[in-house]
Symmetry: C2
Subunit: 608 residues, 2 copies
Amino acid sequence: MTLHPLPGSRITGGFWARRRAANRAAIPVGHQRLAEAGNLAALRIAAGETTGTAEGASFRDSDVYKWMEAAALEHAYSPDDALAGRLRELTRTIAAAQCEDGYLNSVIQARGEPRYARRWMSHEHYCAGHLFQAAVACARAGETGLLRVATRFADHLAATFGPDGWPELDGHPGAEMGLVELYRHTGETRYLALARHFVGSRGSGRASKPGFDPSHYADPAHYADRVPVREAATVEGHAVRAVYFGAGATDVAVETGDAGLLAALRGQYDAMRTRKQHVTGAVGSRWDGEAFGGADELPPDRAYAETCAAIGAVRWAWRLLLATGDPGYADQIELMLHNAVLPAVSLDGAGYFYVNTLHRRTGARADVQRSAAHGRRPWFHCACCPPNVMRTLAGLPDLLATGSRDGLEIHLYSPSSLRAGDFAVDVSTAYPWEGRIVVTVREAPDREVELALRIPEWASGSTVDGAVAAPGTYARVRRTFRPGKQVVLNLPLHARLLVSASRVDATRGCVAVARGPLVYALEKPDQEPDVVLEDIRLDPAAPLRAEHRAGLLDGVTVLHGSGTVTPGTPQRPFGSPEPPARPTDITLIPYYAWANRGPHPMRVWIPV
Amino acid sequence: MTLHPLPGSRITGGFWARRRAANRAAIPVGHQRLAEAGNLAALRIAAGETTGTAEGASFRDSDVYKWMEAAALEHAYSPDDALAGRLRELTRTIAAAQCEDGYLNSVIQARGEPRYARRWMSHEHYCAGHLFQAAVACARAGETGLLRVATRFADHLAATFGPDGWPELDGHPGAEMGLVELYRHTGETRYLALARHFVGSRGSGRASKPGFDPSHYADPAHYADRVPVREAATVEGHAVRAVYFGAGATDVAVETGDAGLLAALRGQYDAMRTRKQHVTGAVGSRWDGEAFGGADELPPDRAYAETCAAIGAVRWAWRLLLATGDPGYADQIELMLHNAVLPAVSLDGAGYFYVNTLHRRTGARADVQRSAAHGRRPWFHCACCPPNVMRTLAGLPDLLATGSRDGLEIHLYSPSSLRAGDFAVDVSTAYPWEGRIVVTVREAPDREVELALRIPEWASGSTVDGAVAAPGTYARVRRTFRPGKQVVLNLPLHARLLVSASRVDATRGCVAVARGPLVYALEKPDQEPDVVLEDIRLDPAAPLRAEHRAGLLDGVTVLHGSGTVTPGTPQRPFGSPEPPARPTDITLIPYYAWANRGPHPMRVWIPV
């Protein structure tokens, strides 16, 4: 059963409103960071507006496009003249920078480098994909100028890389999603055909660095290019590449009605979910190559878990949700948004993680840009993540629900106002802190429509208007609604202890704690002083008591439990006596809120 | 108590004789690989013997020097005209390649690149260090031609980088060990002074890549250059750099009588041993930056455990053993030789691991050069490891024992013939398969001398001539020996189960199995068919039975145990029932012998 996107959903308060407010405040700062980092200068040099040297990676235009998409989404949601002005100004520069034949890459143009000469790392198609998505977002916000730039670039790509063109592929997928978005907006079938061609061509080693290279640069797997997409059993290689490709290929499968391709992609997503996804929903296990590990290779401490990979996985899951109506994908979206995307941004919206570790030891060091040892950072040398967070939070209302003339499906619970044609509802809730969700009908047609409410897989004991609702389904209420009618959903939010898949080695003997959609973590400031986190063991039989603390970390529900502290021991014979343990109180905070009081030791997986 | 190296020790059979025979056969092949890989061409171009382009990294001369050291050690041990001929031919080329002022780097010269311009990666001093060690080894084998090249290069370095010279440091330590070796051989104190200066200068960020770089290239920690050596509490950064620096700094401490420096280095070694060393003795946890991880970051599956790091750590431990007489360092050497160096080479001597994983899952993929997924390889693009293994095995007899006029200290047990002046003994044993070691006096002076026998820390219940000997000490027999007198040492070789230090997360709930100096592993071919190794749990209460199998893996003692197989389960609520387990027989092989029947799944740490 396919679902239909629902534009115009509003978030009217609560958890996500706070996070989105911080994000909105960060968007103008993002423009300033792009200026400081030289992204805007490169475009202005290519446009002939200034002179100088374009510094940095050739894919930095994508940061600008992602920022524009974020700004356009915010401007569409809540008009903002300043943002609109920035968008127009940037559009003028970008249009001026574009080559006669439609090609556009400010850094390569400004440096006079040959086009497509370093396809495995230049990411020219990837940038194009972000341009297309930005252009459509701008057009939906009433700013249509960028669309012309986008279609000209797309026409150039279709002419150059279409089925009869140059066979090489860009090293970084991303163009596919953008091309399908542009096709949907313009109706131009050549864009869909090009996306389909890119998807079908991948898998024969045309994307990797030619010649010998001992590292991942010469490995087709790094580029999602080792196995044709229809034959791939799982995801591998560079995590962002892999999930962006999955999302774009799903777009192609949906728009071309390719059931075989869709089935293959569902299988790959499922293999990722069950064998290569951290408990937080984050994906990508390896720093080396920013890559997926093997199945069951899920180290909390060295999780790469790049922010952009989580964002790409959300986009992939969203497309699969629309294509199939399977609530498992909505569960995935909820899990990843709360525990893999949101941890990447500080509560004040001013700092970002590139890498989202699940475990920070005392005194651990690593590189300054990406390691949690140094806390969240205002921006990055390779700044893919911050504007990606911006556009994701700006676009969040679109993920709340889907709908059609037949009714509404609610996937994410937030105080919100939702409308599908002549059926409109208001949602009120203190979720994710409380599990009571009240849907009030504001406007209803004089015919039967359906209100479908997602019951998360974890939510056993849920009720809709008092009747038991099965986890992992949509509870469906079909009737002729009257305005004012309320439907009350109760999702029991008891704390849950989870253990890893048995073949995962890195978290053996540990539990993760979750409550509702939130994964929890131990952070040093909440424990007894002088305790080394690695010495704590949680008593799994002791109750975990929830307490909402409005003054802590912008308002969080913490969990109180108990356990023991055993002083550290060296390597020793099995069975030799341990030093005596002493009891300790344990307090857990939502994982997304960690590292907002300095970069303290933290762990998601806790030994029992 | 300082110990004194004992030249002239002979290995007369047994375990190491077989491994050294394979190594000796591999040495001429190594020369061929150096030719095929272009290392020799680069030298010949620089020498004006041929024309062409020097390919590859600027530190590839070091591969040649390490090979020469190996060949010289073998030639000295057992004269070989073919090897001597190769050494002379290479020496002529190298001498011709050397610049007028003593500088020498074939790749940089052949390419006309500026000297010392990319110090963080060009490794010109590191190459010099290997040249010095090769030159001394050649001279000891009667081939003195390379010594003149070495002293000319050392003189150039002393003039250019001495205390009044250029303050920048080479990115890769190694010169220090070579300079001290050259000082010992020539008596030239300027070489010791330069080594001392290099050691003292490190720790203020003069080795790293200047300017901004988001990766480890700009991080002084990568270069063992973040903290002055006297202030460092542990090792960090690139593992080979760190242990080579430790070894060279220990040389300086010993030769300058610097007790404070020696104490600091002992502390760093101990911090490495207790918090950053795998159970096999391997060091270096991270693929990213080929680096040490934080304390207790010891993932078996993603252990980098570079072969060269183990070799460097052996050299460091050897220097600390000589400096202190502490048998713990000899235990370390034995552990690392058997379980961190030896696993890097195939039983036939024809293939090498660069990275020594402690766990290979079914179907895991990674880069072709370094991943265990592809098995050992004949050579590498960056071929630091194979000739390093060659010189280590070639030089192994020198590590068996130390001695002086006062007697002999035996550190490693092998059938061997040892002599300290007028005191000579023969050792016979089937160690490491059996624990009985018989030392027969062949020649003895007419005065009291001491025979000191290392009792490993793991060897509780050991006896010397029937008397109990304490583990972790040297059992000392002091008397006026008569030729023919036998001293019988018994080291009980029962299988042992070990658990990690409690703060190590990656191996929680697992045991490693060891017997004598050998760490054992589960490898797929020895288990029941169709069992996934990750599903096996060892019963720690069941006995482990040793069986020597002469026909398996060039002769190994395997261990038979029992346990269960539990089918894999997905992530699930804590406490939910597991599928039923079935009993299984378990067979373990010595870890060093894995991957000699194809690159099968393997694990060192086994869940209980």
